[in-house]
Amino acid sequence: MQLEKFYYDNKIVKAFGFATVLWGIVGMLAGLLVAIQFYYPAATFNFAPTTFGRLRPVHTNAVIFAFVGNGMFAGVYYSLQRLCKARMFSDKLSWLHFWGWQSIIVAAALTLFAGFTTGKEYAELEWPVDIMITLVWVVFGINLFGTIIKRREKHLYVAIWFYIATWVTVAMLHIVNSFEIPVSLFKSYSMYAGVQDALVQWWYGHNAVAFFLTTPILGIMYYFLPKAANRPVYSYRLSIIHFWALIFIYIWAGPHHLLYTALPDWAQSLGSVFSVMLIFPSWGGMLNGLFTLRGAWDKVREEPVLKFFVVAVTCYGMSTLEGPLLSIKSINAISHFTDWTIAHVHIGGLGWNGFIAFGMLYYLIPKMWNTPLYSKKLATNHFWLGTIGIVIYAVPMYWAGFTQAQMWKTFTEEGTLKFQFLETVTHIIPMYITRSIGGLLYLVGAFIMVYNLVKTAKQGSFIANEEAEAAPLHDEVPHGKRHWHSWIESRPLTMLVFSLILVAIGGLLELVPTFLIKSNVPTIASVKPYTPLELQGRDIYVREGCYTCHSQMVRPFRDEVKRYGEYSKAGEFVYDHPFQWGSKRSGPDLAREGGKNPNSWHFMHMFDPRQTDENSIMPAYAWLYKNDLDIESTPAKIRAMQTLGVPYEAGYDQKATAELEKQAKEIEKDLSSDDKVRKLILMENMQDLHKKEIVALIAYLQRLGKDIKLAPKAETASN
């Protein structure tokens, strides 16, 4: 058969590779800054965009979608062309994808800094950016499938199975989780409320980990690891079983983020058991990676690329064992809301995602510049700094999480809580300091890599279009017995459909009953919609990212009931668009905050938390005392809520502003009856307090968790 000559597009890989490095450094710097803010609150610079609540989403979005995202695209664009023996389907689409994704990242960073957020973790981006993501993802999909369809290799290699599953599942997750009603250009409300919003969000959140941070990276591992080691993949059978089992089971595991919450028990149990069943399918990937190195361990000693891959795959194995263990309720009762989770995700993020990306870059740059790596020694140093950095990051965080959970749960013999919340935070400050050192080491390693890669590129010459030859696709004469699975390997669209069906099953079986069966969210008659002022205050709560440190979910534990009050019920959140349960308690839970502290306390506290308690690590929110509340948006917000089914009376949007002002003035009056508040107002020369954002936020906080106290006991006792 006549061989065809064609060229691989290396330029697009170079661009994505460059973006990976750039955004990786940016994301890690943001991470280092938020880590420092834990023990040095002044590092927020008293500047709204750099407070923890806004910077933390910048960090998570930057490392997930910018760093790992670009790394994924670099790896996919490089490996896909070679596995399909074809150039990318369309260079135009490739560059549209590249620049589209970079503009999403820039838009994301700017909007998050500005406080435009949906308040849903890892899906914080507001609706215009959500639409951009959808469009760019479609571009990527066309390019991906276009390339697969015009391939010169009949069967699809396992890496491509993972790419296909990634594409289709991320599309599904992103679209379903992003249903929201726009109120203005940069403000929207989630279509779902409370328990349902929580379930959809964590179905999304967990599977963003699964299908953005895991499956594409596994695909990349399946290409680069055997290439770098020059060894055959250990077991084809294992690839098949672990691929299908992984994508089917993963999608069910979302509710393990909501154990002991107001989510119905059956959904929690499904989340638990599917997580446990996930251990071995995940480990299939680790085993196929490590066993592929069988007979090549001597190369690992010499080759930095393989060193990175070995630790990455090992970290993958460790975190996919730890994840299921954390999904067991009795362990989750300790780990959830603490730094244990933070340690866990960083084993995955720094170890698995970061090290695969680094290993891949050390492999790609010399190949594409046709030169050996500038310095293997520097790369090895990077490897060691990174590895030690991970350990120094993770161990103190495990320790901190465990310690804090124990302190939360310690009672005196008299039956009172032994530690105040703040004591449990100040106690683990040394661990926070240590982990930032670990993070710093990791970052220094990354800088060493940049130097090494730049030097490598300088000494080589870039091959923008790499020549290759292959026979065109033809019906091959079957030689010998084919494996049954090879049938689907030559049918990419069938594989797409099968993957979609498999990942849809788990989602549907968990989401649909929670939405349709009323007993899953029992109604509590005394729970009423927020007043206009409270609603505005809630939006400020979301904007400032309060949920990144404060949960709103009292779990049914003795210590939490004692510390915060009655445990949270599903019916309490029916008007919460979006839910704000949170996932980490760097500060106390706020689900029952209403009425606990006087208005004046909140006023003094948020102006400067260190005045109220010198050990507090909360940022100061001075701008809330200067910014006027955006009252004009109130009617539109009320109407949006009405559309979502919140029972404000018809025409309430017209009365809302007047009611808002009335409530604000009441709070102002109450505030100015306090000596200290009066002193502060005079000192800071604050004017027209009732018009300021702080009053709305106080109104919201004072409402939290109050409604249920008005309910007759019987109504809340069940559930």
């Binding site: 055959p232 993949v233 294992l238 446990v276 060691w384 124990q406 010998g480 000596d675």
Partner: protein
């Protein structure tokens, strides 16, 4: 393979890094030294056990070092000294680090006040962690020893060849437990299981699934079915809300038991000012936990009145203060604390508040209420002097 992997030097280095971090953590976590619990038999036996294990580690390490030294000599003869030297250094440093670890752990044991099983839970888990770590080190050393012995044995058989050839010669003698465990095929049979795939040069083998992997997967599926059956079909295990009920019941029983012993029958008719420092400290803690929000960090008054001056809205005798705390003045924003605090705690709190009189904190709120004559308080504190003797009886 994994065993070889364990022997590589980077594994050892990351191991050392872990150890270093683990050593550091308990030191930070220990916090200010409090009551000692060293006399508790459980603590003593655990510490002894950890020392014993340390001794075992020492002996093993000694043997291993001897063997390693021998190996180094042998390697030197063959001009391949690097690996063994690194091995020896790795071992030396890891042993000394572990010695340190145990010492710190022992220090941490005495640094915390013992409450649960003779120690607080952090100490307990710390100690357990040290024991587990020591066990791990022992296993690690044993494996190392086994490896070294094996290598020495083979090297004495094949004297003239280089190190790698020796190892290769060793592999031929049969499948290790690790090979069997994973159902590995010998490397020579690789060609038989090559599937003939070629994806950009990547070949694929048709290796069997590791049996433990497959069985593990089956077991998790069965476990999942059992879990769902127990919780949602048979209802033989408690769901979240039931768990809470069980927990609360047990805690209430424990508390009732404790209160029976703890001479708690203080009320407003017989409360006395307590002056023992343990009571005042307890009162201070309670104050910080419960009162500062309204009365200020130093009781200087915020929303609630200043508690350090001579003016009282609801009178300032110990019995009046006790009453204010117990029943509250709900109409004025002062809540009733009788469900949150035990009578003894309310007595401690009242006493602490009265002890603040005349402290003149900064930012004090202007006086509210009526001047309360100190005279009865003097009588009270005279009674308080007598109370010093009684106080311990009250607290215990």
């Amino acid at each position: 393979m994994l065993l070889n992997f364990l022997k590589h030097r980077y594994t050892k280095r990351s191991f050392l890094a872990t150890v270093a971090a683990v050593i550091a953590s308990p030191v930070w976590a220990a916090g200010p030294p409090a009551k000692q619990s060293i006399s508790d038999p459980v603590v003593i036996s655990l510490v002894l056990l950890s020392l014993l294990l340390l001794l075992v580690i020492g002996i093993l390490a000694n043997v291993l070092l001897g063997a390693a030294k021998y190996e180094v000599e042998e390697y030197k003869k063959k001009n391949v000294p690097k690996a063994a030297a690194v091995l020896a250094i790795g071992l030396l440093t890891s042993i000394s680090s572990f010695a340190q670890d145990t010492k710190d752990a022992a220090a941490a044991v005495v640094a915390d006040d013992g409450l649960i099983a003779g120690m607080d839970s952090t100490t307990f888990y710390l100690l357990m962690g040290v024991l587990a770590l020591e066990t791990l080190v022992i296993v690690f050393l044993l494996l190392q020893l086994k490896g070294v012995i094996k290598r020495i044995k083979y090297s004495s058989v094949v004297v003239t060849e280089s190190g790698e050839v020796v190892e290769a010669a060793g592999k031929k003698t049969g499948l290790s437990w690790w090979d069997k465990f994973n159902s590995f095929r010998p490397a020579e049979q690789e060609a038989d299981i090559d599937l003939g795939h070629d994806y950009d040069g990547i070949r694929e083998l048709d290796n069997r699934l590791p049996p433990w992997w497959l069985w593990g997967f089956y077991i998790t599926i069965v476990a999942a079915a059992i879990y769902l059956y127990r919780y949602h079909v048979a209802h033989s295990a408690p769901l979240s809300a039931e768990e809470l009920a069980i927990e609360m019941k047990a805690a209430d029983a424990r508390q009732a038991e404790y209160l029976k012993k703890a001479a708690n029958n203080v009320d407003e008719s017989n409360v006395k000012v307590l002056t023992a420092s343990t009571d005042l400290d307890a009162g201070k803690t309670l104050f910080i936990q419960n009162c500062t929000v309204c009365h200020g960090k130093n009781a200087e008054g915020m929303v609630g009145p200043n508690l350090t001056d001579d003016y009282w809205i609801h009178s300032g005798s110990v019995s009046d203060v006790f009453k204010s705390i117990k029943y509250g003045w709900p109409d004025k924003g002062m809540k009733s604390w009788k469900d949150d605090l035990t009578p003894n705690q309310m007595a401690q709190l009242s006493s602490y508040i009265l002890s603040l009189k005349g402290t003149n904190p900064a930012n004090a709120k202007a006086p509210q209420g009526e001047l309360y004559k100190d005279a009865p308080a003097v009588a009270d504190s005279a009674a308080g002097a007598k109370d010093t003797a009684i106080a311990p009886a009250v607290t215990k």
